[in-house]
């Protein structure tokens, strides 16, 4: 279809001049300040103070109490409450720091008591909510720096992205309602991304190490950071000529290597130093391998689809037994259960994944998944994402591989939380401004990622707010990104058919949420609906995982096979 392209190009050419004029006249009048967004979001956050909060609230209150009341050595041994400290030491220091500001009346309220279950009321709630709101200010500072240090021609895009992160429904739902400190933690990660863009590699390493010492979930991004810093800062490949093996020695910039190593080791030393004699205990808290493959509610990843298939197959086999006999003849039999009875037995023994809390999930028909397999899969896809970075350590590549690393770990990791989707969305936001074709992929992952957070807030009173806020965010930013992302020359290569499907998928998320809510409300009335009780959560994770997986496939395609995008 040559015609529309030509027309498009003409319009683009003609409009460019006016665009430039526009920019010249507006150059010094726009200041791209996030200040207004910060203030405005404050109002909503204050209004959310009386809202529902999850057990994470008591978790963090308990950590405040532990770090405030006990000597440092005992922090990782304390277990009066079941919510033991399981974040790295920097976060513990952070809690200690905040606990120094607890006013007397909040202390009297029971904020700092080390008890099995926290007994607290309004003052503690206000205090803890305020700590989240105040520490999130760091996010705004970092994003403002990101805007200020971007090129004048990219400021508008940077501003759109920065404000989209600052107002992200993910942070609103997880931090300000559910209760966590992600805004603050991701600010540190974003700082490292900004440093990478500005080619300040040491700073990048510093911030990443700090972030890692705050929350070890960022470990999933480690391969990417490792390769990026290695290639961009430590290795000297350009102009390399192999004459003898001695030349290989000079491929490494030793000074840079020692600087980098010094910083990373230094930060880790600062973090774990005081606990050096208790490392096994600390590590056992940080990495509790006893947990199951999927979380209480399945995160929308590959295993959700796997579990879903298992469920469907189980039902199918129980209804139509000869499927099993046919299957047995075609597939090697040790992967399959022996008979129908053994399936029923298995179902009885372990009530399936949808009900279990933090317990192991057992599949009835499909093969079991050992932790090792998930690690291998994650690693495989991370390596695939990192290899191009080895050849081309540009910022764009780095962000792309960061996003793919996050996606790989989210999709294939062991015991993944639905909240971990922010680990994908944040890097992706920085990537999407480079090309219009990434937008569909981005829309898929953000919409389904945010929707997959909805079950976190199961109370009725939060239903409207979570839906509407996510919806309005999507309207604003999908629209603005469409207007501001760069249109690459190869725009005609887009597969429009797939775009349509993606849009249909995204718009069908809304009815899905509504229908599940209605089923939930009406299940007392129509007993038939109780049969589908487990289905509601499963639908969430299954349906959202479809979106995230297709987004991953789309991004991987562009990442690996699209040349003009990475020029």
């Amino acid at each position: 279809m040559p015609d529309p392209v030509v027309v498009d190009n003409e319009i683009i050419k003609s409009s460019k001049t006016s665009e430039q004029e526009d920019q010249e006249s507006e150059k010094d009048t726009k200041r791209y300040s996030l200040w207004n967004f910060w203030i405005c979001s404050l109002f909503l956050k204050f209004l959310l103070i009386p809202d529902y909060f999850s057990t994470d609230f008591d978790v963090h209150r308990n950590w405040l109490a532990i770090t405030n009341g006990l000597p440092l050595k005992q922090w990782y041994y304390e277990k009066t409450s079941q919510w033991t400290l399981d974040y790295p030491p920097f976060f513990a220091y952070f809690e200690w720091f905040m606990s120094q500001f607890v006013p007397k009346f909040v202390r009297n309220d029971g904020c700092l008591d080390i008890v099995p279950v926290g007994q607290f009321s309004w003052p503690t709630i206000v205090f803890q909510r305020l700590t989240v709101i105040i520490t999130e200010f760091l996010l705004f500072i970092v994003l403002q720096i990101y805007i200020n240090t971007s090129k004048p021609s990219e400021k508008t895009q940077s501003f759109v992205i920065a404000s989209s992160i600052a107002l992200s429904p993910g942070f609103l739902i997880v931090d300000h309602i559910h209760f966590q400190y992600n805004g603050f933690l991701f600010a540190i990660l974003i700082a490292s991304i900004v440093a990478a863009r500005n080619k300040r590699y040491l700073l990048c390493a510093t911030f990443y190490s700090i972030a890692l010492c705050f929350k070890h979930i960022f470990l999933y991004l480690a391969p990417c950071y490792f390769v990026f810093l290695l290639r961009a800062y430590v290795l000297q490949i350009e102009g390399f000529k192999f004459r003898t093996y001695r030349d290989l020695f000079f491929i490494i910039k030793w000074k840079h290597l020692f600087q980098l190593g010094g910083i990373v080791v230094g930060i880790f030393g600062l973090c774990f130093g005081p606990f050096v004699f208790d490392m096994p205990q600390v590590l056992s808290r940080l990495f509790p391998f006893s947990r199951g493959l999927t979380h209480a509610y399945w995160a929308p990843n590959f295993w959700a689809i796997y579990s879903f298939c298992d469920k469907v197959l189980t039902t199918a086999v129980l209804r139509v037994p000869w499927i099993l006999t046919v299957a047995k003849k075609t597939i090697s039999s040790n992967l399959l259960p022996t008979s129908i009875d053994s399936i029923k037995q298995a179902i009885k023994q372990n009530n399936n994944g949808s009900k279990g809390l933090v317990q192991d999930v057992v599949f009835t028909i499909l093969p079991q998944i050992p932790p090792k397999l998930t690690f291998l899969l994650t690693l495989l896809y991370q390596i695939l994402a990192v290899i191009p970075l080895l050849f081309d350590p540009s910022y764009k590549r780095f962000i792309g591989s960061l996003t793919l690393c996050g996606l790989a770990s989210f999709l294939f990791g062991w015991h993944v939380h639905e909240k971990a989707v922010m680990l994908v969305i944040i890097p992706f936001s920085f990537l999407v401004i480079f090309d219009r074709r990434l937008l569909i992929s981005f829309m898929l992952v953000t919409s389904s990622g945010f929707v997959s957070l909805f079950p976190l807030l199961y109370k009725n009173e939060d239903f409207i707010i979570k839906c509407l806020y996510t919806y309005v965010w999507c309207v604003i930013y999908f629209f603005s990104l469409r207007k501001t992302t760069k249109v690459s020359s190869s725009v005609e290569r887009r597969v429009f058919f797939l775009d349509r499907i993606a849009i249909t998928y995204i718009s069908s998320l809304f009815p899905m949420v509504i229908i599940i809510q209605l089923v939930d409300l009406l299940k007392w009335k129509y007993p038939i609906l109780t049969k589908f009780e487990f289905l509601s959560l499963m639908t969430y994770s299954f349906y959202c995982s479809l979106g995230i997986i297709s987004s991953w496939i789309g991004l991987s395609w562009l990442y690996n096979f699209d040349e003009p995008l990475w020029k």
């Binding site: 009048t29 200041r31 405005c40 109002f43 209004l47 009386p50 009173e461 007392w524």
Partner: protein, 561 residues
């Protein structure tokens, strides 16, 4: 580059070349709320093709903020045995559900008997049916009294949200568009005006915090105004009657609607347009009949008595001249003259009626002689304000009635008018403070108060100049020249400036003493009375100003509001 954006603009401007150019050339400084944060948020979507986005943003954010307010407590939360307005509304959903229409206005009158007109009852009936479908225990007869679960709260909050979305928001959007087009306002300017109206804090806090369905009554009134603007007079009469039939409070507007419709059918644009007069008359009567007919038809044995009982319940003349502390004439001057001891109930009723009529008569007469569209809000303010200040049995929440036409005047672009309207909005919210404090909505009150003032740019005076530009408050995306001197919403006149600033300082002081100093034991209501006195003073001044505007604008056009 933002290529498609310009493409969009270009395509559009080709289509409506004249329209879009006329506002593009308009001096930006003349836009309402220029350089305010609200302006700044909506400005990036200024292209005419992206107006749907601004509408989405405004409406959705109004709903989000309303829901967030709704997370707080409501009136009568946790205060058995009578609870409060929330329980009253829930109770009506319950009784309309289970009783035949003939019992609605008779059932257990001591416990929140139905005392609103029938349309409220039907509205309750429908919402009750839906709620009963979802979870019957919310509305089981008698047993559900005082229910305060998470579910019923969410459901009731949701019904208010839904009512607002259906009845109020479309009307306001239409109004701002209609006026904006006539005044050649830019599309984004219209959206900003709509946002300023929809974010009106008093209505938000009363409907979604305290809990009431005022948005339905006000929504019907806005629809009536819209129909007047479109010159559909019979339809306007129908909408206004529906408004009265939802809540009798909107009778405060009645003289003006009557004057406009009368004048339009008898004197303007030609004499004795009897066809129109009949149409309006028939529409009015038919609507009343339709609303009250079910009471008669399904009234059982005593059909007529059922209708009469409903009217008795709606107009409770047996009550005192004022109930709680309210910022009107009777309550404030009662500090000096104890009316209840000086006069009988009947005398007081007569005096208050006389004072009210005297208050709205000038507006009535002006409207009869100048039934012009741009005067409608001013006339409605003059009339409803005189009801609020002088009539019988006024609640503090009644300020919402004059506040609606006041807030609708945000479509103006005159800085003086905007400032006055904005100021009186703040005063009105302030007079609601004792009520909201009692409901436990202090957090919501302060957050919304500050949010509204900040959004519309009233805090522009706190702009530190010594900091780097990127960290100072100010426009982030909009095209505001750095030389532009931002200003707070204060009128040009020095006297008004003084009055407004002093009133703000007084509000601040009253809040401080209210928080810090316990009221003296012989006057336990002292701070509330101070609140009312301040509110009354400001309302009266505003009322005079409004009359002045009504008078000087009587021969002007819609361009001058």
């Amino acid at each position: 580059m933002a290529t498609t954006k310009t493409i969009h603009v270009k395509k559009h401007s080709k289509k409506h070349g004249k329209n879009s150019k006329s506002w593009e050339k308009e001096d930006d400084g003349k836009q309402p709320f220029y350089a305010s944060p609200l302006f700044d948020f909506l400005y990036p979507f200024k292209a005419p093709g992206s107006q749907w986005v601004t509408q989405y943003i405004i409406v959705l954010f109004v709903l989000v903020i309303s829901t967030a307010i709704g997370l707080g407590p409501y009136s009568g939360f946790n205060t058995p045995p009578m609870f409060g307005d929330f329980e009253a509304q829930r109770h009506w959903l319950e009784i309309t559900q289970h009783l035949p229409i003939s019992k609605w206005y008779w059932f257990d009158l001591e416990y929140w008997g139905l005392d609103y007109p029938p349309l409220t009852a039907y509205h309750s009936y429908i919402l009750g049916k839906i709620g009963f479908f979802f979870w019957p225990p919310w509305f089981t007869l008698n047993e559900s009294r005082g229910m305060e679960t998470d579910g019923i709260k969410s459901y009731m909050r949701f019904t208010v949200l839904l009512s607002e979305l259906v009845f109020y928001i479309p009307g306001v959007l239409y109004f701002t568009k209609w006026v904006g087009r006539r005044r050649k306002q830019s599309p984004v300017g219209q959206s900003i005006a709509a946002a300023a109206i929809l974010f009106q804090p008093s209505l938000m806090l009363i409907d979604h915090g305290h809990f009431q369905y005022n948005c339905v009554m006000l929504g019907f009134t806005v629809l009536a105004i819209n129909n007047l603007l479109d010159e559909l007079y019979a339809m306007a009469a129908v909408c206004f009657v529906l408004s009265i039939c939802f809540k009798q409070m909107s009778l405060y507007y009645a003289p003006i609607f009557f004057a406009i419709l009368l004048s339009k059918s008898l004197f303007y644009p030609r004499w004795f347009n009897l066809a129109r007069l009949f149409a309006i008359g028939i529409a009015t009567v038919a609507t009343f009949v339709a609303v009250f007919a079910p009471l008669y038809v399904f009234g059982g044995d005593a059909r007529l008595e059922n209708v009469i009982q409903s009217i008795h319940r709606i107009f409770p003349f047996a009550r005192g001249i004022f109930e709680d502390k309210v910022a009107n004439f009777w309550c404030v001057t009662n500090i000096f003259f104890k009316y209840k001891q000086l006069f009988t109930q009947e005398e007081l009723q007569l005096y208050s009626l006389a004072a009210t009529v005297a208050g709205f008569l000038p507006a009535f007469i002006i409207t009869i002689f100048h039934p012009k569209k741009h005067l409608i809000p001013y006339a409605l303010v003059a009339c409803s304000m005189s009801f609020y200040l002088f009539s019988f049995q006024v609640h503090e929440k009644t300020i919402l009635v004059p506040l609606l036409p006041i807030t609708l005047m945000f479509v103006s672009s005159d800085w003086n008018v905007l400032s006055m309207i904005f100021w009186i909005n703040n005063v009105a919210l302030f007079t609601l403070w004792p009520l909201l404090k009692k409901d436990g909505l202090a957090l919501q009150y302060f957050v919304i108060f500050i949010m509204y003032n900040w959004l519309l740019g009233n805090f522009s005076f706190v702009t530190p100049k010594f900091l780097p530009k990127s960290v100072t408050p100010g426009p982030s995306m909009s095209n505001v020249s750095s030389h532009y001197h931002r200003r707070s919403l204060l009128p040009d006149s020095i006297i008004w400036k003084l009055i407004i600033v002093v009133s703000y300082l007084c509000m601040f002081a009253i809040h401080i003493v209210d928080y810090a100093v316990p009221a003296p034991s012989q006057y336990p209501d002292l701070w509330v009375l101070l609140n009312c006195a301040l509110g009354f003073g400001c309302f009266v001044l505003f009322w005079f100003w409004n009359y002045y505007k009504l008078f000087i604008l009587r021969n002007k056009t819609i361009q001058d509001i």
